[in-house]
Amino acid sequence: MRPSFGPEALVSAAFSRCSRQGRAAFLPFLVAGDPNPLVSKELLAAVARGGADLLELGIPFSDPLADGPAIASASARALAGGMSLAGALRLVRDLGKRLGEIPVLGFTYYNVLLTHGLESTAQSFAACGLCGVIVPDVPLEESGPLRSAFARYGLVVPMLVSPTTPPDRAVRIAQAASGFVYVVSRAGVTGTHAGIGEIRAQIELLRRATATPIVVGFGVSHVRAVRQLAAQADGVIVGSALVECAAAARDSVEAIEAVASRCRELARGCLRQPAVAGNLAASE
């Protein structure tokens, strides 16, 4: 029996709340420790203020294969500033009330988790109040040990589906995922991108296969794309655009303000237009 206030319930409640309010969940992504631990903490508080419904926190890895230049550079900056797995967890714990009820999920690469041990990492995640982890280099076939270690602590492990994933495989991935299914909107790596691929068919397929919320990410940068996706998905992830927004600022004060205001804009984009809201098959 999972306690009703457990990580999985928190994640699920966040999606339900958004759905009741007629909007897709907004999931901003930032890299822990970018550009340094102090400013990073304020940036995370800023995305929380800016309307995050869930928060995806990158735990930096030296060789982030699934990430494009924006997040790869952010990871390099964070590592140069001394960020680590323990440091990222400490950030979340220290932010405490400033994150409110927003569920936080880690995003990192398998080697980081393996090095610290799956079991003990899951334990530290739970102890520091994180709700789960996304590991982009662990596909379904290799995901057993990861999913069972995190499930033991009530944590969620969302799984990724990509445009190259065949339908039968997409269904199996959706059934193995917990928390949400992470639909990658285009082939390639993370990064800002002008357009969004045709993913409506894939979302509809997944809807039929699972009641788990469906979230779209990779290459979502403009509020226009967010609006378009909010009509189809239960949540939208924006990462590279926020990382770039912070990196482009002249100083940390400006970065914090710019990220907060960008988040407010993107979060507003998650509000579904009445005309399309009727098309939704909500996950509840």
Binding site: D63, L65, L114, A187
Partner: protein, 397 residues
């Protein structure tokens, strides 16, 4: 075969730890590989290209003069330096190029460290009329300017990678990212027996030409199998290709030689993943990796750019664990000594990578029966290293 083998495991090593977007392309590659490997017509095409274009078989040369004054057996070199383009890498590049053609791919990409694999892929692209883009760390481009020029001469585009230490690992990351977005029409020609399944098996399939030829040549020229086979290991393709032919011959001792750099005590001083690394996941495979206690991939150092890589092919990790192959390391200085000594004693200038295997063989030979047959894989020629050495770093004796 164990329960893992269908997912591309060698014992507990290997696997396919890649973003979901790459799973389907790698599955398609695996199917095409199985199909091609089972098709005699594919192998016949490959064999003819090797004979008429690459110039195979390469010779087996018993050394006459090196260390002739001291006790111990003479070394016998498998002369991969005699390949067209100067190294064994062409075996793999042409094999994967032919497979790409068979899969109707219209573009080749590759990563390269020293530039040898880039040159080999550019060559294969020219021959097979496929455009080639090669990712190369900008630090490596400075160190290996000659190969950058060669690749461009052969019609390839060289894409500079400015991330990280700007070397092989960073170039590999970029090539992976390109492939993630372009796999539908692009073939990623991986340069060593590393990475996600099916690459370690695919690369071994072509590299084992080295071992199969050498084994037959030993029987023909010496009337017996060698007692020992020695090869250098970076990613480990020439070594796995050599070992593959001898794995079942339990009486043949197999030795892999890593880059010991300037010492094994500190991360960043060497590139000896098997000798001094720990088990992790890098570039899609579970294997021995050089990393810090946080799981961040470490810096590497070797005088030889081709061995300068923080991981190693997963089959080597398995062969180390099972004890079938023994792995050791030699230092930059030992390799440089072997490089100079072989040139002067035999008129053969080996690649600095190959010089590691030669240096190690010299170290063990004194403990061996003088009648033993020691086969050393000379994986490539040293022309590419001469410019850099001639510029003064480090000085020749």
């Amino acid at each position: 075969m164990n329960g893992h083998s269908s997912r591309g495991y060698f014992g507990e090593f290997g696997g396919r730890f890649v973003p979901e977007v790459l799973v389907e392309p790698l599955r398609a590659l695996e199917t095409a590989m199985d199909d091609a490997f089972g098709d005699p017509a594919f192998w016949e095409e490959y064999r003819l290209v090797l004979r008429d274009y690459v110039g195979r078989p390469t010779p087996l040369t018993a050394l006459r003069n090196l260390d002739a004054e001291s006790s111990g057996p003479r070394l016998v070199l498998k002369r991969e330096d005699c390949n067209h383009t100067g190294a064994h890498k062409i075996l793999n590049a042409l094999g994967q190029g032919l497979l790409a053609k068979r899969m109707n791919k219209v573009r080749l990409i590759a990563e390269t460290g020293a530039g040898q694999h880039g040159v080999a892929t550019a060559t294969a692209g020219a021959l097979l009329r496929l455009p080639v883009e090669v990712y190369m760390g900008s630090a490596d481009m400075e160190r290996q300017a000659l190969n950058v020029y060669l690749m461009r001469l052969l019609g390839a585009t060289v894409k500079a990678v400015d991330a990280g230490a700007r070397t092989l690992k960073d170039a590999t990351n970029e090539a992976f990212r390109d492939y993630a977005a372009t796999a539908e029409h692009t073939a990623y020609v991986v340069g060593s027996a590393v990475g996600a399944h099916p690459y370690p098996t695919l690369v071994r399939g072509f590299a084992r030409t080295i071992g199969d030829e050498a084994r037959a040549q030993c029987l023909e020229q010496f009337g017996r199998l060698p007692e020992h086979v020695v090869a250098c290991v970076g990613g480990g393709s020439n070594a796995i290709g050599a070992f593959a032919a001898f794995l079942e011959d339990q009486q043949v001792g197999l030795w892999g030689v890593e880059a010991g750099g300037v010492g094994l005590d500190r991360i960043g001083d060497h590139a000896a993943s098997l000798s001094a690394g720990s088990i992790g996941v890098l570039h899609g495979a579970r294997t021995f990796v050089l990393m810090d206690e946080e799981g961040q991939i470490g810096a590497t150092h070797s005088v030889s750019a081709g061995l300068d890589y923080p991981g190693v092919g997963p089959e080597h990790a398995h062969l180390k664990s099972s004890g079938r192959v023994r792995y050791g390391a030699v230092s930059d200085d030992e390799a440089l000594d072997a490089f100079c000594d072989l040139a002067r004693a035999e008129g053969i200038v080996p690649a600095l990578e190959s010089a590691h295997a030669i240096a190690f063989s010299r170290k063990i030979r004194q403990k061996l029966d003088p009648e033993a047959l020691v086969l050393v894989i000379c994986s490539g020629r040293g022309d590419k290293d001469v410019a850099r050495l001639a510029l003064g770093a480090p000085a020749l004796r």
